[in-house]
Amino acid sequence: MKRMLIVLLALSTCILSAQVPAPRIASADRTPADWLTYSGNYQAHRFSPLAQITRQNVAQLKPAWIYQVRRTGIVETTPIVADGVMYITEPPSTVTALDVRTGRPLWTYTPTIPTDVIVIGSPPVNRGVAILDDMVYVGTVDGHLIALDTKSGAVRWDIQVDDNKFGYYVTSAPLALDGRIIIGVSGAEAGIRGFLDAYDPKTGKRVWRTHTIPGPGEPGHETWSGDSWKTGGGSAWLTGSYDPALNLVYWGTGNPGPDWNGDLRPGDNLYTCSLIAINPTDGKIKWHFQFTPHDIHDWDANEIPVLFDATVGGRPRKLVAMANRNAFYYVLDRETGEFLSATPYAKQTWAERIDAKGRPVRRAGTAPTVEGTLVFPNIQGASNWPSPSYSPQTRLFYQATREMGTYFYKGEPDYKPGEAFVAGGGRAVNGDDAWGAVRALDSTTGALKWEFKLVTPPMSGVLSTAGGLVFGGTDEGNFFALDAESGKPLWDTQLGGQVRSNPMAFSVDGRQYVAIAAGYALFVFGLP
C-alpha cells in the first residue's frame, strides 16, 4: 500500500510538473545534456558546454545512429533534446520524436499540407521545433502554427498564422519564452507585409502582432511611398534571440519587395533588412537598426543575432552581433541599438564604407540592371540562415562564410497575390570562382583570427563546444571538427549528401554526442 502510494505520488508529480518550463530554457547552459532551444540558449551562442569530446579524442568519433527521413526533401532541422527525447522536423513540416539513445521513432505527426501550397522564396523546408512545458511547437509551409503534446504528438491546438493564398508561410523554429510563443513569417518574395507574432503557449490565442513594415501613422511609414508598404516584404523568417534581463527579443528582418527593382519604393524601406528589438510582453519595438537601407540585392538580415557582453572602448557593454548577409560583421549595443562597428568579413564590392552611424555609403554602378551587374556578395549572401557560433571560452565568433559573386538583374515589378513579386534575379558566379571558409572573428571587432577554407560556399552552420572544437559541414557532404583556437582540422567524415543544417550537441547516459542532418538523414556521432 505504501509502495503504491509512492508510485501514485510519483505519477502525479509527473503529470503535474511541466516538462520544460521557461526558466529551464533560460538556464540552458547549466543543463548541457539537453538542447532546449533552436540556438542552444536564448543568447543564440550555439555553444555546447559539454567537454567530453576534445581536441585529443575527436578523431575517434563514430556514428552512433542514423535516422532517415520519411519523405525526401531538404533537411534543415536543428534537433531539440529534452529528457531523453529528440524532437526533429522533416520536410516539409513533419515533427518526429526519437529515442535519443537509439534513434528509434516514438511518434510522428504530419500536418495535412494542401497540394496547392504557395512557397515562394525558399524550398519547402523546416528548421526545427520549440519546446515549452509539455508541448512542442512547429510552423508549417502553409502558414500554420501547431502545438503538439510532447508524449504523443497529439495536436493541442492548430492556428493559421496568416493566409497562405497570399504567400505567407513558416520555415523557422518558433522561440518559446515564458508565456509567449514567438514566430516570424516567410514570404517577402510574394510581396507580403511581414510581421512577428506572439501566441499564448497554452491556447494558441494571438497576444500581439508587430508588423515589420509600419502602417500609415506609424513611425517609419514615411520611408515608403504610395501603397508600396502593402507589398513591402520584410519577412521575419529566422529564429531570433532573447535577453531575459532586458526583456527584449532580437529578430532580423528580410528584404523589401520587390527584391531587385527599388523604383516603386523610394526611401529606406523600414524595417526591412534590419534588426529589431521587441518587448515580448507587448510587442512594442524598442529600437531598430537597419543594415541595408533600400536593399536591391536581396540581402535579408535574417541571420542569427548573437548576444554577449564585452568591453568596447574601455566600457563594459551588453552587445548584439550579426554577420550580415551583406558581408559586414556588425556589433551593436543591445540596450539601445547604438551602432559600434562594422567590419567586412567576406569580399564585398557594393559599399565604399560604413559611416559613423552604421549607414553604408554605396558604391556607384552596383545596382541591378537589365544586362546584369556583377556584385559581391552573391544573392544568398556572405552568410544566410545557417547559424554562427560564439564561444564564451575563446570569445570568438565562428561564421561559415560564402565567397561568391552574382550578376544581378533588374526586371519588371508585377504584383499578383500569391505569385512571385521579385522583379529581377541573379546568376551566381559559381564553380572554382566561388568558395567558402569557416572564419573565426574577434567577437568585439570582427577582426579575422583564423580561417579554414572550403572548396564551395557552405550552407551549413557551425557549433562550438567546451571541448575546444568547432563543428561544421560542406556542400560536398563532409562533416568536420576544427580546433577552436587555431582552425586546424582534427576530424572529418563523408555523409553522402549536402550538409544544409546546423550541428548541435547533447548527452545521454553520461556520453556526449554531436548531431547533424545531411542529405535525407540525421547523423549522430559519439566516441566509441
Partner: protein
Amino acid sequence: MLIASLLLTVAAAQAAANVEPGKQLFNGMCARCHGIDGTGDEGPSLNRPTLSRAATDEALREVIRDGIPDRGMPRVRRLTNNELNQLVAYVRSLGRVTATSTRGNADKGRATYEKLGCASCHIVGGQGGSFGPDLTQIGVNRGASYLRQSFLGPSETLPKGTSPVPGRGFTEYLPVRVVAADGHEVRGIRVNEDPFTIQVKDSANRFHSFRKSDTKEIEKEFGKSLMPSYRGRLSDAETEDLVAYLASLRGAK
C-alpha cells in the same frame, strides 16, 4: 474566321513588339553561353528553326523559366509572363536567321577527325576512348564558334555541363598535378574534390584518390587543358570541315 485571323494578327504584332525587349534580356542573361544573336558558344546555338528541347513555344517557355540544371543551364531568375513572352519572341526570331557558321564539309571533317586520332580520347556513337567528353551529341549542345575554339585553343574552352558529377559547378577537366607523400607524382584531370580529398583521373584513364593531408603538393592548372591544340596544324579548309563534322553529331537516332 475574321475574328480568328484578327487575333492571329494581334498575336503576331505582339510577338514582333516583344523581340526588341527580348533581345535586351537575352543579351544580359543568355548571350554569355548562347552567344550574341544566339550563334552558340559553350551553350548550344539557338539560331535554328527547330530547337531540340523546345519544339513548341510552351516548351521553350519552360526551358527558359526552369533551366536544364543537369545539362548546365541554370534557372537564371524568376521571370514575369511578359518577360517570358519577350524572350520566347526573341529566341524564335533567331530561328529565322540562316545559319552561316558551318560552311565546311562534314564528310571530309570526319576523315580529319579520324586522321588526328581524336577517337583515342572521345566517344562518338559508343566508339572511342573515354578520357575526354563524349561527343555523340556535341552538335546539339555547342555552337560552331565554340566547336572551332575547342580544338584550336582547348584551354580557353574547358567543357562545362558535361561532368557526370552533378551540381558542384567546378571547372571540368581541370588539369591537376598531385605529389603524394611518398614523392610519386600523378598528373591528370580533377574528377571531384572536397576540402579534405581529391579524386583524379590520369591520362591512362585510371582513377586516383588522395587525402589532401597525405599529399606534398596539389597544383591546379587553371587555364590549361590536357587536350592538344591544333592551332597552326590544320588548314582553314580542314578546320571548317572538322567544325562541320562536329556540328553534324546530333545523337544516335
